[in-house]
């Protein structure tokens, strides 16, 4: 087993553990802690996949901005900061659905090439040429989504006194 594979195995286990912990712990602030570790862990996986630009983006946007947004959301919607998730019944149906999804997906593993293969690497210049060239419309669409989101969100949370 190569060093990369060992590293991936460790990172994958941490990712699964932190994702599960984020949803299962009872303190909401601890949830944010776990999810922050999860985002950082995924960005490490992107570095492992030779996609450093995406790794940095994941760190900046997810581990930085999204985590802070979620923390901000918890702090403004609860009187006490260390509030708990109200008790929820974990019925058999959600567990079954999640398990079925997992089993179906894992069943696809067998048909992938089992041997190790070399990673295709791209330098950031090629990525930006692709993003602002043939795939430019995706960015335009992202701009429209953000326009709708920003305009509506600002209106919605503005204290109305007009």
């Amino acid at each position: 087993m190569s060093l990369e594979e060992l590293a991936f195995l460790a990172l994958a286990l941490v990712a699964i553990a932190t994702a599960a912990a984020a949803l299962l712990v009872r303190e909401l602030v601890h949830t944010i802690l776990w999810i922050a570790i999860f985002f950082v862990d995924l960005s490490a996986i992107y570095f492992l996949l030779d996609a450093p630009f995406l790794g940095v983006l994941q760190l900046g946007v997810y581990a930085g901005a999204v985590t802070i947004l979620l923390l901000f959301g918890i702090m403004t919607t609860r009187k006490r900061i260390f509030s708990r998730e109200s008790a929820t019944g974990i019925g058999p149906v959600p567990v079954a659905l999640a398990l079925v999804t997992f089993v179906f997906l894992v069943s696809a593993l067998g048909e992938l090439p089992p041997s190790t293969s070399t990673i295709a690497t791209y330098d950031p210049t090629a990525l930006s040429e692709n993003l602002f060239g043939p795939n430019g419309p995706w960015l335009l669409l992202l701009g429209l989504i953000m326009l709708a989101g920003v305009a509506g969100a600002i209106y919605l949370v503005r204290e109305g006194r007009e």
């Binding site: 999860f38 692709n130 989101g149």
Partner: protein, 105 residues
């Protein structure tokens, strides 16, 4: 030259999307629902990154471009969700989805 097996990655994203769906179906706190959605979204993003690294066609680079767009989109989605929940919190004082029972289910 990094060498990795493809199967492990799909196993990871399968587990993450399973956890995300489980969270969406069982959690009732809006913030936890958002987090569940983001976990599943990260599974999709992870898929795009490693299918770009092990391309089965000639458009591998597009996978990384999609990732950039999706990360930006996910941040917007969280912001919109929080705006809605802040507005509701101001009106009703709860962000528990099950407790906000004005509408019949």
């Amino acid at each position: 030259m990094t060498e990795l097996a493809l199967t492990g990655f799909l196993g990871l994203s399968a587990a993450l999307v399973g956890i995300g769906i489980f969270g969406i179906l069982t959690r009732r706190n809006f913030i936890l629902l958002l987090i569940s959605v983001e976990i599943a979204m990260n599974a999709a993003i992870l898929n795009f990154v490693y299918f770009a690294a092990f391309p089965s066609g000639t458009h591998g680079l597009s996978g990384q471009a999609i990732t950039v767009v999706l990360i930006g989109f996910a941040a917007t989605e969280v912001a919109v969700g929080l705006a809605i929940v802040l507005a509701l919190n101001r009106l009703k004082g709860t962000i528990n989805v099950a407790r906000a029972t004005e509408l019949k289910l």
